[in-house]
């Protein structure tokens, strides 16, 4: 019964970010991000293109066992299930789509090679978060780069004379937050992104970053202090 983890169910539910109905192709290509021991009918679940894959109604833990024994179909299901979320993480950490794709691809290949030694101490998802985050932090350590100003829209100036429509104001605030994030120290940025955008628990963040919960709390506090200051015009 060790695969029926309520925690993972809650996390999956919480991380479903996509509002509205998915595009029609999604159903056949990417399984719904939910734990596999749910009650979905399994007919036709031998998912994946070509129908030769592992059933995508299996949960991550089962798929990871199959993948660790060399079942590349099972791994393919895991990759499709997690790629968008991990790409979002890497993009928030690196601020660049191409770099983020490289980081996630390398992380998955590394995971494929290391799966036989993966002992399920954490969930597969948390393990992947760890590999991707480490890779991103390494990239940033190797080549601390200037903020890619062209990659993000300029925030609309907090012009006292105009009152832009609420939606534009929201977009500008979001853009400002993205810019402020990239100015943060990478370790603080990782903490904040994992907590606020990916809604991981302190304990999970500590595992992902290989540090203590206490340190995570400290970093989160510092990240919030810096970010609230950057968001001052949007109060």
């Amino acid at each position: 019964m060790r695969y029926r983890e309520d925690r993972s169910r809650r996390k999956w539910a919480a991380m479903r970010n996509r509002p509205g109905p998915p595009p029609p192709y999604e159903a056949e290509f990417r399984p719904a991000p939910r734990p596999a021991t749910g009650s979905t009918a399994a007919r036709g679940a031998a998912g994946g293109p070509g129908g030769s894959g592992a059933p995508d109604d299996l949960n991550d833990g089962m798929l990871a066992v199959r993948a660790s024994e060399g079942d590349d179909d099972a791994f393919a299901v895991l990759v499709r299930r997690h790629s968008s979320r991990l790409l979002a993480l890497a993009q928030h950490l690196l601020g660049d789509r191409a770099d983020a794709e490289d980081a996630v691809q390398e992380a998955f290949l590394s995971a494929w090679r290391r799966l036989p030694e993966f002992h399920h101490a954490a969930s597969f998802g948390t393990w992947m978060y760890r590999i991707v985050t480490n890779r991103c932090l390494n990239v940033l350590r190797r080549s601390p780069r200037p903020l890619p100003l062209d990659a993000l829209p300029e925030p609309a100036a907090a012009d006292a004379g105009s009152s832009p429509p609420r939606v534009c104001e929201g977009d500008a605030a979001t853009a400002a937050l993205k810019r402020a994030l990239l100015e943060l120290d990478p370790e603080l940025r990782a903490c904040w992104v994992l907590r606020e955008l990916h809604e991981l628990h302190y304990e999970e963040i500590a595992h992902v970053l290989g540090t203590s919960e206490q340190t995570v709390r400290g970093r989160l506090y510092r990240a919030r202090r810096a970010l609230t200051e950057a968001m001052r015009p949007w109060r």
Partner: protein
Amino acid sequence: MALDDPHRSSGDRPEPVDTMKAPASVLHEAELRAGPEILPCGRPVSRAWEQARRPAGTPVDPHTGTCTWCRQAVEGLTALDRAARALRTEEQPDGRTLAQRVVDAVRAETRLGAMLLLDDPDQDLHIAESAAAKVLRRAVDTVPGARAISCRLVLVRGSRAVHTVALTIAAALDQPLPERAEEVRGAVLHAAHRGLGLRVTAVDLTINAVLEAPRATVDERSTGGDL
């Protein structure tokens, strides 16, 4: 009061004031960016934030109700929360192209495992354990209410081409487990003998997870398609 209360997934323990105070050295950077740690009213910023994140229904303390400095600190946090919420609900990047690239790369470096002798008259044909196991897992998946988890093939001691299969499965509880186990054994032996031409004398079965609902049969058309 947890400082992260706005999140559905939070539910963490409260965040006491003293654990939120980082040592002076690490705070230095944040202070440079965000002003002093202690508000002019004498309260730490963290204390004002805690008031902002107090559970609904908890009374506001008298100080926070009237203090301009505390109110400003709270407004800062609220603005950040609002922007974070917007960022959280942004469309995730489309990872499908990336996923396909990863899958292609993974398939190019398939882990074969041991090479197993098939049960042909000359005994000179081999199959990779990972390929054989994949076929046998698929055979398990065709049994309604069963899903393969682990599948290992073990050479019987002293033989060249006789194997046992060690199988871990998840099973639904809508019919007695022994019956389902027999179905699974039958499917695996059939796939091993007829599909692969592999001599298997025993299937050791462990059920270590429960499927919540009965499962329909996975379409058999693709069984063995990877050979």
